[in-house]
Symmetry: C2
Subunit: 184 residues, 2 copies
């Protein structure tokens, strides 16, 4: 049931990339709104698509990573994830690569859970979530010069409590667990 | 159980604000890593904290808003939400204000669900989620010059299907529904 209909539209008249760094580009769009018949500026972030993946062991433990995050300047507890690289053939390939790199665990039973917009107000990119069943240790984690992760096995049944108590505080990790709970 | 311990630390040596706009500031941090004993640059977004709120009617419908989002350049279906303004006395006050402004619904039974980091890799800010029970229409939605929302009542029982089918695609909205499902 709708109580009020959208009447007006936006047309983008111009765009300009105003700041670039390794993980995003800031773009300023100038868009025309049919209601006030004026142009307005909006800033958006161009980012590659992201992935994350819930690795489950045969004992139903989640293989998680603890790492320092420069946004919050604190340690977080997350499932493996990251940016899709240009060389990744698909989001699934990227997710499996991140799982092996960050955790040193692998599985060939990786299934898609869903894709979400991290923030449609600011970004066009999506985060693709996966679950991997029957993962096993296959290698030591590999880091680039600025990465270091600690692998932590968390019983799957404890995940809701870890979200409630704030141990898991990354929105996109919570979304991955929500997809899994939905049984998609 | 941990299989590998974090050994190294990060120290921020300097910071510089490199781009500012209405909704975020881009900051470049230069940080020293004890492992390679070198300095590295990281870009982060400074944003105010955000809020969102699930308004539930006495008939157990969710009052949602459809609006154009400039990040994805598409319409989204969301619960009300936005930035905490300097004049908001608390996150709860901000959430209730957004509910009234965007939907024209109100309630004095507003309860906190939890707070999440939208993206700890890039941002320090948090999104605070709330639920409002027994909401009732109180006013017409009010918009600033660049806002327009359509109010949509969605039966609460249909929310999982709307997430599965991609009608609800905003990560922070999914997190709010996850908090509610957890019964926090």
């Amino acid at each position: 049931m709708s109580t009020k209909r959208l009447l007006h539209t936006w047309q983008r008249r111009s765009e300009q990339r105003v700041y670039e760094c390794r993980v995003f580009t800031v773009r300023r769009d100038r868009s025309f709104f049919s209601r006030d018949r004026a142009e307005h500026d909006f800033h958006v972030l161009e980012c590659p698509d992201w992935v994350n993946i819930i690795p489950l062991t045969p004992k139903n433990e989640v293989v998680m990573v603890r790492q320092f995050r420069h946004g919050t300047r604190a340690l977080t507890l997350e499932v493996p994830g990251g940016m899709i690289d240009p060389g990744d053939a698909s989001p699934l390939v990227a997710a499996r690569r991140e799982m092996v790199e960050e955790c040193g665990f692998d599985s060939d039973d990786v299934r898609p859970l869903g894709a979400i917009h991290p923030n449609p107000a600011l970004q066009a990119n999506r985060c693709h979530s996966f679950v991997a069943y029957d993962v096993a240790a296959c290698a030591e984690p590999t880091f680039d010069s600025t990465e270091e992760t600690e692998v932590v096995l968390v019983p799957f049944d404890e995940i809701p409590d870890r979200i409630r108590d704030g141990s898991i505080t990354h929105a996109l990790v919570v979304v991955a667990f929500h997809w899994l709970a939905l049984g998609t």
